[in-house]
Amino acid sequence: MRKLIMLCSCFMLIVLAGCSQPPKPSNKIILWHWMTDRNDTFQKLAQQYKQETGIEVTIQLFAPSDSYSQKVIAAAQANVLPDIYGVLDKKSIVADFIKAGLVADLTDAMQADGASWESSLFDKALADKRFDAGNSYGVKPGIYGVPIDVTNEQMVYNKKLLAKAGIATPPRTYEEFIKDAQALKRVGITPFVSGWGELWLLDCFASNYAFNIMGEEKIFATYRGQVKYTDSDWIKVFNVFAELRNKGVLIDGIVTKGNKYAEQDFALERAAFAFNGSWSVNVYHDMNPSLDYGVIPPPPVSTLHPLKIWGSAGSTFVVNAGSPNKDKAIAFLKWLTTKEQQVVLAQETNNLPSNKEALSVISPILEEFAKGMDQSTHPNIWPLNEDPSVSEAFDKGIQDIIIGEKTQEQVAQDVQKVKDFQMAKGNH
């Protein structure tokens, strides 16, 4: 009996000791990421870093990104986050992480040596995790993340299929796009594919046209509740999708299609145009190395305001503020974003580098994507964002229009109802 009690007590002591043991600094850094396509390159770079510095970086992959997000949130709640990780969520959630003391402020490191690190990176990529003075999230101003690549979402077109339909140059306006789509249909080619079963991609496309139709001030005024979704400009945004449906531009089953399937459709030449991000260069290359395609921004429907595409940091790492290896983690990220490592990442993974100097080595197709960065914007750098429930109703409403279940006006009213409900709750 005594032995049993002793055994249980020992067990409890070990458990309690394990729980309360403070982490000690070491020469080992742990990094969690979600990028399946970049894992091998990360592992290779980690090996190289160990040889150069003696610091061992353990790269741990948790995919897909949805599961990764949940894992990070659970680890944050249990206070067991690794030294380096990513917060793949809205800026408001990133702000919550910072306020909870889970993300280190990297401003000092970025601005050391005449801000050499900060100035080497794309400003728009840094803006993803930068909080300016007086930000609406109540976060201390500073830079909280290190972008390892940049990305933007544009339209890609298959040169061979366009030529087959007698189209010499890609469309520059929405009108031309619709005309080209008709020409493609006449020769039996599906004009357009995208993974709109994933709502964020649909939201991104709609947002591009909202910027083009009404300009950013009116969009933000809508988010503030000063303009209604039943406004004629929002109806025009919905009209874009109604027209795409009516003219038969969209591939069958687009509203339930995952982006992986959409990428496959474009790579296997089942559709002439696709709306996708710059990461797709790598994907298309893997699926069909001989695919001949080009990049254009979505063709604008109006000339009143510039059409803006989403573009920002592709993947950003943050450093755990509570990590005993914080400085080593920062040093590793600084090394990872120097020109040499960025060139390796860009060449091996076909992603746009976050380091400006590394742009000189990218492929011509990535260069086409890179040109779009000048007209890019992103929800993470906007002064305010729409309530997620309203965004969900908005995106689902567009799906309703595409499948022909609701009119643009009905959808506008439905979205406004959700907006009114959220405004009444004070979520704005």
Partner: protein, 304 residues
């Protein structure tokens, strides 16, 4: 004195026994009771998963009561369950009956029927996505189903099965039934094999027809197994999730939403963890009620 010694011995004995169950009890409390308590507790808060938590009392439940998307999703799960209960279990029973007889390749069929349940739901979703693909390339349907319908002279039946609100949920329910019928098949077959063959011989001697034998011997003897299969079907079908994500991603508008996808959406898309917990509590209560009703029915049937 004697009583004191005896009492101490009993206490020591009880304590000893208690220590033996401590590990199991600790695991149960840590992994079941505490999360359960925490989830109920969180359902009274407005919380985004990280950062401050705001106590809002029953606000999440009040909102949930009038959330038509949530109740629609419950109906959708009910519809999938109904199809599983009827189509899936009828198929499983019919095949179990066939395999219970002395037929050729009996073992082979048993193995084949058990393949869908052992496949991952993601894999099943992907396979069926290809079968149901509505697209065309070079004048040919890419999806196997539409290709077969077209080439076998039924072009009018070619359809966008997952993209049409009228057929999407039924299609998912059928795929779910295809994936799940193997479990029912194995359980029902095991049940059929426990029936004493003498009952059938006696029925034969009495001149009972095949139908009479089925309704008066097989069904009554199989009732406990059938009820277990029904309870498992209900619980499994109400919680269908991965298959839906694999087949229609974030859903065909809200036509393919089920409670678990709504819970997931509340956590993942809108970061409303408190609301998601309230959904879990309500959904859990409904499942407990359904199981309780089924148990009562099962007891009654056994008595009858």
């Amino acid at each position: 004195m004697n009583r004191k010694v005896k009492g101490a011995a009993i206490f020591k004995d009880n304590l000893q026994n208690f220590f033996f169950v401590v590990p199991a009890l600790a695991i149960f409390c840590i992994f079941y009771i505490y999360p359960f308590y925490k989830m109920i507790n969180l359902s009274f808060y407005d919380w985004r998963g990280i950062g401050p938590m705001y106590f809002i009392g029953l606000q999440n439940y009040k909102e949930l009561a009038s959330d038509h998307l949530w109740w629609d999703s419950m109906w959708h799960a009910g519809y999938i369950t109904l199809i599983a209960l009827t189509f899936q279990n009828a198929l499983a029973f019919a095949l179990a009956l066939a395999c219970d007889r002395e037929i050729r390749l009996k073992r082979f069929y048993r193995m084949v029927f058990f393949i869908p349940p052992v496949l991952s739901e993601i894999v099943v979703g992907f396979i069926w996505n290809w079968i149901l693909n509505p697209q065309m390339q070079n004048g040919q349907y890419i999806g196997l189903l539409n290709h077969l319908l077209y080439s076998s002279g039924f072009p009018q039946l070619v359809h966008n099965w997952l993209g049409d609100p009228h057929t999407a949920l039924t299609t998912i329910a059928i795929v779910h039934s295809w994936k799940g019928f193997g479990w029912g098949f194995i359980m029902l077959l095991a049940g059929l094999q426990t029936i004493d063959r003498q009952f059938y011989e006696a029925a034969k001697v009495d001149g009972a027809s095949a139908w009479k034998t089925f309704t008066n011997v097989t069904i009554p003897m199989m009732l406990p197994v059938i009820l277990v299969v029904m309870i498992l079907t209900i619980l499994g079908s109400m919680q269908v999730f991965v298959l839906i994500i694999a087949m229609v991603n974030e859903g065909l508008v809200n036509h393919t939403d089920v409670p678990v996808t709504r819970i997931f959406s509340a956590m993942q898309n809108t970061n409303r963890f408190g609301y998601a917990c309230a959904e879990v509590v309500i959904f859990g209560m409904i499942l407990v009620c359904v199981s309780f009703i089924m148990k009562k029915l099962s007891d009654k049937a056994k008595q009858a």
